[in-house]
């Protein structure tokens, strides 16, 4: 799957770099944004095939980002996987209900995340 582009929205730089290296090692092209505002503009500019979205972000939270993305016709179709430090009991159901493909709690298992990404891309229109 060369040239498949993934956007990571994450404010923790170390997590970001680590994940980027892993994804690039699996032949994905990676772009990123570090806050809620940049998430929207970067998504519209870069048109990624999938978005990995953190919930705890500066300038708004992941749910706000997701809602905004779903409101914009040019990016509403992009599958989103939430990757968050928060407890699944409180947030996973909400994430799915609001349109996320999956919810992962950090620290994520690399294999499981990669599998979920493949599945999400398989279902993308």
């Amino acid at each position: 799957m060369t040239n498949t582009k993934i956007m990571i929205v994450e404010d923790d730089i170390d997590q970001l770099i680590g994940l980027k290296i892993r994804l690039q090692a699996n032949d994905y092209t990676v772009v990123h944004a570090v806050d809620a505002v940049a998430a929207i503009s970067t998504a519209r500019r870069e048109q990624p095939d999938l978005i990995l979205l953190d919930i705890g972000l500066p300038a708004g939270d992941g749910f706000t980002v997701m809602e905004r993305l779903h409101d914009l016709m040019d990016v509403a179709h992009i599958p989103i996987i939430i990757v968050s430090a928060r407890e699944p009991e409180a947030y996973a159901e909400r994430a799915i209900n609001e349109g996320a493909f999956a919810f992962f709690q950090k620290p994520v298992d690399n294999e499981e995340l990669l599998e979920a990404i493949e599945n999400a891309l398989g279902t993308a229109v």
Partner: protein, 396 residues
């Protein structure tokens, strides 16, 4: 969030119960104590008194001794048994003074007052008791809040530790996977040492988190119908390298579905209702413990056991040929922070929370966990899981 000072709870009105068969005594006392800051309830028989005690939260009960039907000492003894936190006073005439003294000695009664009693003295005594109780309750609330605070702190800390640990783990594995260039053998070796220790840290933090969740009532399991054997086989497979490294054999002795030599189908283990992730967690804990405490050459075996008096449960056992446990260790082994008193050669890894977490997880499945062990003879850890109810007894 700033901590509010503990308020003495003056909202619930204290209540005092008077029992005397003579209505004149009751009305006299009631009149004398009418300005006191507590509610006064009256009864003329023991039955009435018990009815009131059953309905209301009473702080002090004052009983006459000489009553038809039931004497004060008998009544108060019953009160002590049924409502141990209620303070007991006795009213006694001169004729029953020695009974009262005996009651004090027996600790059946806190204080007695001879009739006719001075209302001021009685009132003061009651007020003292009520003050005492209020302070006791405040102390309990402080202790409770301390405990909650500690739990929250522990929970918060273990949560926060995960992010940096995740970053370390990610980059160590990135290096070991050769994604930053090839490694020399020495670099690989040292990085693997780091990885081993990071994994221990992750495991400890994971245990801490599960432990705080269990304490806060937030440990969840999601049972589903699963086949146990593949999970056991797979889990032990991942643990075998560390067992072999220690010179130990790891065996799985479970029936597997398939064909027997006779050509007849063999039933595997019955389907159970269990959370596969949590089941793996329990198995890893038990087997890792066995590996830790079994010297080479040794054997660790996972088996099924038939429990005749619990046919609705499936029982698995993990048996080792290790040191075994003393009775005093067996009793506490599923508690938090329990570690045995032996200190021979072993390295103390882990926080001593693993078995507590196993116990909590198995209980949340509706099962039991216990250990059978004799010092010097090895140990067998056993746990049960509920079989799926739509499974026929013969396993189909």
């Amino acid at each position: 969030m700033p901590e509010a000072a503990i308020q003495l709870d003056t909202s619930a009105s204290p209540a005092v119960l008077l029992l005397d068969d003579e209505p004149k005594v009751l009305s006299g006392l009631k009149r004398a104590l009418r300005k006191e800051p507590y509610e006064l309830l009256c009864a003329t028989t023991a039955e009435e008194a018990f009815a009131i005690l059953h309905e209301r939260s009473i702080d002090v009960v004052i009983s006459d001794q000489d009553m038809p039907g039931m004497t004060g000492t008998v009544f108060l003894a019953k009160v002590r048994e049924a409502y141990p936190s209620v303070c007991r006073f006795m009213l006694t005439g001169k004729a029953t003074l020695d009974v009262a003294l005996q009651a004090i000695n027996d600790d059946a009664v806190r204080q007695f007052f001879t009739k006719p009693c001075d209302p001021a003295t009685l009132a003061q005594s009651i007020r003292n008791i009520i003050q005492e109780k209020t302070l006791e309750q405040a102390l309990e609330r402080v202790q409770q809040r301390e405990l909650e605070l500690k739990n929250r702190l522990l929970s918060h800390v273990s949560h926060e530790l995960r992010s940096p640990l995740a970053a370390i783990y990610q980059f160590i594995t990135i290096l070991l996977d050769g994604l930053a260039g090839e490694l020399s053998p020495k670099q690989r070796e040292y990085l693997e040492i780091v990885l081993r220790n990071v994994n221990q840290l992750r495991s400890m933090v994971g245990d801490l988190l599960d432990c705080t969740r269990a304490t806060n009532g937030k440990l969840t399991v999601t049972p589903q119908p699963i086949e146990i054997t593949p999970i056991v086989v797979e889990t032990l497979h991942t643990l075998r390298p560390s067992a072999t490294q220690k010179g130990l054999d790891l065996f799985v002795d479970l029936p597997a579905p398939g064909l027997q030599a006779s050509g007849l189908p063999a039933a595997g283990l019955p389907i159970v209702a269990a959370d596969p992730v949590r089941l793996r967690q329990v198995l890893v804990n038990l087997v890792e413990n066995a590996i830790k405490f079994t010297p080479a050459p040794g054997t660790i075996t996972v088996r099924q056991r038939d429990l005749k008096d619990e046919p609705e449960m499936l029982c698995l056992t993990v048996t080792d040929t290790g040191r075994g446990l003393r009775p005093e260790d067996t009793a506490r082994i599923f508690e938090r922070l329990s570690q045995t008193t032996e200190t021979i050669d072993e390295q103390r890894h882990g926080l001593g929370l693993g078995l507590y977490i196993c116990s909590e997880l198995i209980q949340r499945h509706g099962g039991r966990i216990w250990v059978e062990s004799e010092f010097g003879q090895g140990s067998t850890f056993c746990f049960t899981l509920p079989r799926c109810s739509n499974t026929a007894p013969d396993g189909t």
